[in-house]
């Protein structure tokens, strides 16, 4: 019997190479774990029938002595990442019966690296939310405490890894949707530099912010998946090359703490205590810790709640009930749109589309969207200036530990504040890593490391040191 909760991708790869177990046995163990545990957690929306066949293919390659970074490793994908021939709903009723006509580049790269794709995981509808409570298919529960949310929007992927149902998973991160659920469920979550991973085949939310990234149990595993995923793609013109951002690749072992930002209102005292303990741990590892003044960082969330709905209103205009997805008929053509979209989209999605329509409307465009774009540049430049002196910025990942179901659903603004520490990395495009940093009352906490554009290497180095992986 293989105990998935003890395995990392790295240790499973070694065991597969040594013949301690086969990919079929490992994949079967994943499927058994899903059968046993997922009734109470609801991390998966769909388990693919072809998983064991993929595992057999991998076993054949292993027998031939082929070595690929993810050969034989069972992984899960967020429901907004396409797999040809499989359903992908993005957690929405409007795509309930949508079958992907092609695979995402990220999916294809995982398959080319030998991974076994187990299935699709639950998420907030169109990745809009911080708790998975906005999924049209019911919420995912936090495996660490079933009365609490797993975070979101990639809550199903986080729960699948945390509960030992998959060795790794992909999510998408627009404002914190990988890192926040990673912190809430006690796993590693990583958002690469904007443009480093192709979004071809990712159902778009806010295209200037979306990035695909991994959930894993270790920083080494996150790096392994990132190395597989990264690279330019002619199907996504926003992808960038390794050398797009010039760098001397220095590593000074200096950390910046934006104290006035971190110590703001609405931040739990346990979170602050945990951050101090994490700072001390870094100091013990030989890091120098400096306070940095980033006066505009606190505006990142406001910038986000202008740019994101604006892009949402544009991106989701494609769901018209004509070409694919749900169709609800009305008296005439235009009523078809109104009924399809009114019925097919859930409440949070309707809220964001309509808000986006407002901030882009004539008379308000400059005041909201135009100002937000300027503020975005300011935040980015401020952070990049700071990275001349420090390797990375350290904050908590979340202002509170995992909250209870229903705790924030009545007040959208309080839900939005769950992303306060993760959003600056999306606004600036910087890579950002959440790693487990302890517990409060058995609930996991995370710290968030953010480095300069193109400097994923810094995060992997520091993250591995912190978790004792070196």
């Amino acid at each position: 019997m293989i105990d998935l909760s003890k395995l990392t991708i790295q240790s499973a790869r070694e065991a597969l190479k040594k013949g301690e177990f086969t990919s079929r046995e490992l994949t079967q163990a994943s499927l058994d774990a899903i059968k046993e545990k997922d009734g109470g957690i609801h991390a998966f929306l769909d388990v693919f029938k072809g998983a064991l066949a993929q595992a057999d293919e991998a076993d054949k390659k292993i027998a031939e002595g082929i070595d690929l970074p993810l050969l034989g490793i069972p992984l899960a994908l967020k429901d907004n990442i396409l797999v040809e021939g499989e359903k992908a709903s993005a957690g929405s009723k409007i795509l309930r019966d949508f079958v992907a006509p092609y695979s995402a580049t990220a999916t294809q790269k995982l398959r080319d690296a030998g991974a076994v794709i187990l299935g699709h995981t639950n998420c907030d509808e169109f990745a809009m939310g911080s708790s998975t409570e906005n999924s049209a298919y019911g919420p995912t529960k936090n495996p660490r405490d079933l009365s609490r949310v797993p975070g979101g929007s990639s809550g199903g992927s986080a729960a699948a890894v945390s509960a030992g149902m998959a060795l790794g998973a992909l999510g998408s991160d627009t404002g914190g949707s990988i890192r926040q659920p990673a912190a809430f469920t006690g796993v590693v979550g990583f958002k690469p530099t904007y443009g480093r991973v192709s979004r071809s085949g990712l159902i778009a939310m806010a295209s200037s912010l979306d990035q695909i990234g991994p959930f894993t149990k270790s920083v080494s595993d996150a790096e392994t998946i990132y190395e597989v995923l990264k690279g330019t793609d002619e199907m996504d013109s926003t992808t960038i090359a390794e050398d797009t951002y010039e760098s001397d690749k220095s590593f000074k072992k200096v950390i910046g703490i934006p104290r006035s930002f971190v110590l703001g209102e609405g931040i739990d005292s346990e979170i602050k205590t945990n951050l101090e303990a994490s700072i001390q741990k870094f100091k013990d590892l030989g890091y120098e810790v400096r306070d940095v003044e980033l006066p505009h960082l606190k505006f990142a969330l406001a910038v986000y709640y202008i740019l994101m709905p604006a892009e949402v209103s544009s991106n989701l205009a494609r769901f018209d009930g004509v070409r694919y997805g749900l169709h609800v008929g009305g008296a005439n053509g235009i009523e078809d749109y109104f009924k399809t979209r009114g019925t097919g989209f859930g409440r949070e999605v309707r809220r964001r589309i309509i808000l986006g329509t407002y901030v882009l409307s004539s008379g308000y465009y400059d005041a909201y969207y135009g100002s937000a774009l300027s503020a975005k540049r300011l935040i980015t430049e401020e952070l990049r200036e700071a990275f001349k002196d420090v390797d990375f910025i350290l904050t908590p990942t979340t202002p509170t530990p995992a909250f209870k179901f229903g705790e924030k659903t009545a007040d959208p603004l309080s839900m939005y504040l769950a992303d306060i520490f993760t959003v600056p990395a999306n606004i600036s495009g910087c890579p950002s890593l959440s790693i487990p940093s302890g517990f409060v009352d058995d609930l996991p906490l995370g710290i968030c490391l953010t480095s300069d554009l193109g400097r994923e290497d810094v995060l992997f180095k520091a993250g591995k040191e912190f978790l004792g992986e070196l």
Partner: protein, 96 residues
Amino acid sequence: MDSAEVLKLAKLARIEISAEEAESLSHEFDAILNYVSEVKAVATSPNPLLAKERAKGEVNIMREDANPHESGIYTERLLNQAPQRDGSYIKVKKIL
């Protein structure tokens, strides 16, 4: 923002919503817009960082409009996803 304005925006966005939802959205929007309005002051205050040019990474990427795939190879796969079809056409209600 009042509920009439929300209904107008919903119409622009082609989404049917109820009067009750418009009413409750109008209050939520007031709270959200009040929160996000703080960026207006940030953007208008002069800041030397904003004068810096750092265009790299933010350029339009264009490619030649060439090398199309073989005509028709994806037609069936894509049409299969259409809610209503008529042969090789997607079916919609008459417009005029």
